[in-house]
């Protein structure tokens, strides 16, 4: 295994990993731009339904294949993969954000409205704050899909770790694909862990609990 790892490092495993992360991050950014504004509007109008989450699995390989064959200004390997993976990530992000915003405590919203806040302030100060964990969960799911989707696009010769894995598997030598596969798995686990921490940090109730003293300092009458 260590020989395979050496060979993989010499073949540019680290470079592939960085490119993979970069492409996935670009795709995620694209998905955020596409999904979140509409989600905020729909969530504010409470269109979400907890029983009907939208499944977020678009066949990324199909989209990437068509985009890769577009003429050059649009096609080209990196833009095609970024667009295909970005579109793949829109549904989970959108549905998580909409359902999170839709179940924000109505009393909190009404209280702020009664205090004379504008709708913009309601969205910014209450809805987005209380729905923070749900939006962060959507970002986490979308980020993982972006990593996996970028890897699948590698089957078509796209950038990142997928192409190396595909070459190893196609050559009938799965051991040659293992270092890249392990790097991909590592990237997935690290992303899940980091964004899970972000998700916890985004919970305003948790923050509030930490700020509040454990016991009431003065006994209540």
């Amino acid at each position: 295994v260590s020989a395979a790892l050496d060979a993989a490092l010499r073949a540019g495993l680290l470079h592939d990993l960085l490119v993979h992360g970069g492409v996935a991050a670009l795709a995620l950014a694209l998905a955020c731009v596409l999904a979140l504004p509409a989600a905020v509007v729909r969530g504010h109008r409470r269109h979400g339904h907890p029983d009907r989450p939208r499944p977020g699995v678009v066949p990324v390989l199909a989209l990437a294949a068509v985009l890769l064959l577009l003429p050059v200004p649009w096609g080209g390997s990196v833009p095609a993969v970024v667009v295909a993976v970005g579109v793949l990530c829109v549904p989970p992000l959108h549905s998580c954000a909409v359902s999170g915003l839709s179940v924000v405590e109505p009393a909190a919203v009404e209280a702020l409205r009664a205090a004379g806040a504008s709708e913009r302030q309601v969205v910014r100060d209450v809805e987005l704050v209380l729905a923070g964990p749900a939006v962060a969960a959507g970002v986490r799911r979308a980020a993982l899909q972006a990593l996996g989707g970028t890897a699948l696009a590698g089957l078509l010769g796209g950038p990142g770790l997928g192409a190396g894995i595909a070459r190893g598997l196609a050559a009938g030598d799965p051991d040659a694909a293992l270092p890249a596969a392990a790097a991909l798995a590592f990237a997935g686990l690290l992303t899940a862990l980091l964004l899970g921490l972000v998700q916890r940090a985004a919970d305003p109730r948790r923050r509030g609990e930490r700020a509040r003293p454990r016991r009431t300092p003065v006994p209540l009458p």
Partner: protein, 254 residues
């Protein structure tokens, strides 16, 4: 003498090259801007391949989904009884969802080559896809069962339902809309993730996509892409209709 041994003279080669030229010319004449997104003759020529790939794709996805469906309910019921060990199960599910599918496929194949080299290559696709589908189904089943109001369960128990009837006729019935949501996600996942089988040459329509991109064959790629999307959307729409019907008659408001 060497030429005779190979069984191929210069005139043979010239003849074959001429035949290929003629074929290419006829293709070029039938599709003026060769390499079009839609070219009737090319599509006609690719039809047997596309049909075979479609059948393979449906089989792969159905096998993964069926395996997941068989495993999911016992696993969920077991997880309900485990108590504190549930956190462990949730951790395993989190790890599986965090692993990109291609890494899973590569890992499975490396494992199978070592332990069971007699198994066909498609098992390296169906096992990881089935694992992902199982996790999706178990998550939705667990969420659905957890959302059944305790009062409903208590009332059914008081009315004399035995545990099996309680599970089937009350808990699963109440959780059905949510579970169907999970089935929708799992179906779409099975169809679109099966394309990853192209990595081992067993990806159904994924194979056509990969081969088509390599050859720059736009007609084939577009046809395969449309088929994959239709294959993912069709069961999704059917299940959505079912879910809407059941949801409107749900025992408990959401």
């Amino acid at each position: 003498v060497a030429r005779r041994d190979v069984g191929c003279t210069r005139s043979d080669i010239r003849g074959r090259a001429g035949a290929i030229d003629a074929h290419l010319r006829s293709l070029a004449e039938s599709c003026p801007g060769r390499n079009d997104w839609f070219c009737g003759p090319a599509l006609e020529a690719a039809r047997p391949d596309l049909v075979a790939a479609l059948v393979e794709h449906v089989l792969l996805a159905a096998l993964a989904l069926a395996g997941a469906a068989v495993v999911a309910l016992p696993v969920t019921l077991l997880a309900r009884r485990l108590g504190p060990l549930r956190a462990l199960g949730r951790g395993v599910a989190g790890v599986v969802t965090a692993l990109p599918l291609l890494a899973l496929v590569a890992g499975t194949l490396a494992l199978l080559v070592r332990t069971r080299p007699d198994l066909p290559s498609w098992t390296a696709v169906v096992l990881p896809v089935g694992l992902v589908c199982t996790v999706l189904l178990v998550q939705s089943l667990a969420a659905g069962l957890a959302a059944v109001p305790a009062a409903v369960v208590e009332a059914a128990r008081a009315a004399g339902y035995d545990p099996t009837a309680l599970l089937v006729r009350v808990e699963l019935r109440t959780a059905l809309p949510r579970v169907l949501g999970g089935v929708r996600t799992a179906t779409a996942a099975a169809v679109s993730l099966s394309t990853a089988g192209a990595a081992v040459g067993r990806g159904g329509l994924g194979d056509v996509l990969v081969q088509g991109v390599r050859d720059g064959a736009r007609t084939e790629v577009l046809a395969a892409a449309v088929l994959v999307v239709a294959l993912a959307l069709l069961p999704d729409l059917l299940l959505l209709a079912l879910q809407r019907r059941l949801g409107s008659r749900s025992l408990v408001a959401a």
